[in-house]
Symmetry: C2
Subunit: 406 residues, 2 copies
C-alpha cells in the first residue's frame, strides 16, 4: 500500500489483467523460435487512448500506423504487439505489413482496423511475417482472458532480451468506487543512450477523456520512463500507450489526484523493473539530484549520471570512484556549481563541499556492495529535485549485445 | 608522404622530439608505482600557445591554472604533465598544488611560473603529491633531450590505461625552408561519451602569432579530436595545447595552407591512434557521413553512430546488425530523411534506399571481420560530409573500467 497525504494505492497482482474490462493473451506465433512472441489486448468498451512515442527520426512502421489510427479513430479497442521483429527500416512494405496486422485483428474481433494499436520489437530491417501473425492472432483470440495468467503470458510475449516479464497494477478509491490502473512492459536494454526498445501498455477502468489521459500520461512518463530513457535518444520502436474508458465529461482539470498518482505509480514501477532487468545488470543505481535550481537542471544531471558508462562500470566493479559521478554531472553542462556540490551514498555523507572525502575508501566500497545503491548529489543552489534510475555495465552486457542475433 | 593538390607532408619519427627547439623528458616521479608518470617539455624560444580544453563544468585544477597563465603571459616556455592523478575535484588545495608544480618547474628552468603549462591525468579526487613532482622534475630537467627517445619517454609518462605511447610528426616546406609539426598524446578510453581524459601537446618551429595558432588549432581539432571526443561530453582534464615560436607579423589571414595541413595531419593521426588504442578495443570503425545538407548535420550523425554502445557491441561481435547504425543516426535528431539514406560497408553497397539489403547476412558479416572497418552512410540530401572514428566495445572494456583503481 502506497499512502500519500491525499490518497492511498493498493498493490494488485496481474498487471494489465487486473483491470476490469481488459482481456488479453500471449501466444507463440512463430516469429521467434519456440517462445511466445505475440500479445493481444482487447478492451470491452471503447477506450480513450494516449501515447508517448520515440523521438527517433527513424520511426518503426507500427508507430506510424498507430499514429494514423489515433488520428482517424476517436476510440481504441485492441492492441497487437509482436516481439522478434521490429518492423523498422522496412520501407513501404513495413507499413503495409503493420496495416495488415491491424486489419487481421479487426476482422477476428469484429472491429474497424483504425481501432487497433500495433507495436513491434526485435531486430531492425527484417520484414514482419504477417502470415504467422495471422495464425498467432487466431490462437490469441481463442485464449483471450482476464486475470494474472493471461497478463503474464502477454507480458512474456513482448519480451526480447528481458529476463522477466514486467507487470504492475494498483487499485484506488474515488468517490467510494474502486478503480484499477495496470500495465505490462518490456525493456531490458540499458535503455538510453543505447536505444533498446521500451514498450508499455497501461490501462484503467477509470473513465476519462483522451485529452486528460494524454496530459496525465505525459506527466507520469516525465518522472518515470523519461528518467531511465532519455528523450531524444530513443529506439525506433519505443512507445507507451495508455487506455481508459472514454468519458466526454472529464476535461483536463477534472483528473483526480488519485488517478494521476496511480498512473504515475504504475509507470514508476514498470520503469524501475526495466532498469533492474538491464541487460547483464547486477546492480540498480538510484540517483537523486537535490538542492537544484529547478527540476530541469536536476533531471539533466540525474540522467547524465545514470547514462555514463564510466559510472556504470565503476558500479559493476564496486569501485568508489566518485570522480566519475561528478565528471558525468559536469559534462551535462547544466550549470553545476563546482564549489557547492556534495555527495551522499545510501544516506551517508560521502564527499563534502570542496572535494573532501568523508568516507574512507573501504567504507565507500562497502556502500557499493548491495544490489540496490542510492546516491544523492546535492547541488547546493536551490530546492528542486529529480530522481533517475540506472544499472551497472557488466561483461554480460557486452556478451548479450555482441551476439544479439546469433 | 601525404600529398595534396597544394602541399606535401613528410612523415617523421619522434613526435614532439622531432621539432627543432623542443627538448623533453619522461620520468618516474612516484605518483604511480614503477611506471613513468611525469613529462616535461621545454621550448628554447618563447612560444605562441593555443589551447582547446574541456567543456565539462568541472575543470581540473591544472586546466584552471594553465588558463590563468595563458591570460598572464604572452608566451610559454614549458609544459609539465603528470599521470596517475587528475588533480580534479580537489578544491583550493588542487589549485595550490598545480601552481606549486608550475613554480617548481619555473625555478629549475629559470622561467617565470606563468610561462609554464600544467596538465594532469588519472584518478579524480586525489591530491597531487607535489613533493614527488619536485623530485621528478629535478630528474626530468637532467634528462631533457631532443629526438625520438626523449619523446617516447614523455609520451609514455602521460599514459594512463593507454597500451602504446602516441607520437606523430610531419615535415613540410614553406618558401624553401623546412619546418616540422610534431606532437604527443594520451587517451585510450572510449573517449566520448565516457570522458576518459584526452591530452595532446603539439609544437612546431613555424613562427606564428597566438591568434593565428588558436584559429588553426580550433579548425584542426574540429575535424580530429572532436570527431572522436564530442564537445560537451568531455572529461574534467581534456586539453590540447599547441606551441610555435611567437611571430608578431603573421595575422590570422597569413597562415599558409601547408602549416594548417600539417597541424591537421598531426591532430588526425593522434586522434586515430587514441581510437585504435581504445580500452579493450579490438576493431576501429571509420564512419563517413556523406550527401549531407551541411557539415554540422554530417558531424552530428557521424558522432552519434561512433558513440552508440549498441553499434560498438555489434561491431565487437561482428554482427551485421545495420539497424543499430540507422537507429543511432535517427536518435541524433539531425533531420535524417528516413526515405533517402543508404549504407555502404568498406565501399560495398550494403543497404539501399527503403531498407533493401544488398549484401547477404554472410557477406555483410565478412565485411565486419577486418580490424579496420569503414562504413559510409549516404543521407541523400546534399553534398556535405564528415568523418568520425570509433572503436568496438568489448568485454575487456568492462574489465578495465570496473577495476581502474584496483
Amino acid at each position: 500500500v502506497i499512502a500519500s497525504s491525499s490518497f492511498e494505492l493498493i498493490a494488485l497482482r496481474g498487471g494489465l489483467g487486473a483491470v476490469p474490462g481488459v482481456r488479453l493473451a500471449g501466444v507463440h506465433a512463430g516469429i521467434k523460435p519456440r517462445k511466445r512472441d505475440l500479445a493481444l489486448v482487447v478492451f470491452d468498451a471503447p477506450q480513450s487512448c494516449a501515447s508517448v512515442v520515440t523521438t527517433n527520426e527513424i520511426k518503426a512502421a507500427p508507430l506510424l500506423v498507430s499514429a494514423a489510427h489515433l488520428r482517424e479513430s476517436p476510440t481504441m479497442r485492441a492492441v497487437v504487439c509482436n516481439s522478434g521483429c521490429a518492423n523498422a527500416c522496412t520501407g513501404e512494405r513495413g507499413e503495409r505489413d503493420a496495416r495488415a496486422t491491424a486489419r487481421q485483428a479487426a476482422t477476428l474481433l469484429d472491429l474497424i482496423p483504425s481501432q487497433v494499436i500495433v507495436a513491434s520489437t526485435g531486430v531492425i530491417g527484417v520484414a514482419l511475417a504477417v502470415d504467422r501473425v495471422q495464425r498467432g492472432l487466431e490462437r490469441a483470440v481463442a485464449q483471450l482472458d482476464s486475470g494474472a495468467k493471461a497478463a503474464f503470458d502477454a507480458a512474456e510475449a513482448i519480451m526480447t532480451t528481458d529476463r522477466v516479464p514486467k507487470l504492475c497494477a494498483y487499485a484506488f478509491y474515488h468517490q467510494d468506487r474502486k478503480y484499477v490502473v495496470g500495465g505490462i512492459a518490456k525493456g531490458s536494454g540499458m535503455i538510453a543512450p543505447n536505444m533498446a526498445t521500451m514498450l508499455a501498455f497501461i490501462a484503467s477502468d477509470f473513465p476519462i477523456s483522451s485529452e486528460a489521459l494524454a496530459h496525465t500520461l505525459r506527466d507520469a512518463s516525465e518522472e518515470s520512463f523519461n528518467m531511465i530513457s532519455v528523450d531524444g535518444d530513443m529506439s525506433t520502436n519505443d512507445a507507451v500507450y495508455a487506455f481508459a474508458p472514454l468519458s466526454t465529461s472529464s476535461g483536463q482539470a477534472d483528473v483526480p489526484a488519485v488517478f494521476a498518482g496511480a498512473l504515475r505509480a504504475v509507470c514508476l514501477d514498470l520503469a524501475k523493473a526495466m532498469v533492474a532487468d538491464g541487460e547483464g545488470a547486477t546492480k540498480t543505481l538510484e540517483v537523486r539530484v537535490t538542492q537544484a535550481r529547478d527540476v530541469a537542471q536536476a533531471r539533466t544531471i540525474a540522467r547524465a549520471i545514470i547514462n555514463s558508462n564510466l559510472v556504470k562500470t565503476a558500479l559493476y566493479g564496486e569501485d568508489p570512484n566518485w570522480g566519475r559521478i561528478i565528471a558525468a554531472a559536469g559534462a551535462a553542462r547544466a550549470n553545476l556549481d563546482p564549489d557547492r556540490w556534495s555527495l551522499f551514498a545510501n544516506g551517508k555523507a560521502w564527499v563534502g563541499v570542496g572535494g573532501i572525502e568523508l568516507l574512507s575508501e573501504a567504507e565507500a566500497h562497502r556502500e557499493l556492495e548491495p544490489e540496490t545503491i542510492s546516491v544523492e548529489l546535492r547541488l547546493g543552489v536551490g530546492e528542486a529535485q529529480a530522481t533517475g534510475w540506472g544499472c551497472d555495465l557488466s561483461r554480460d552486457y557486452v556478451r548479450i549485445n555482441a551476439n544479439y542475433r546469433t
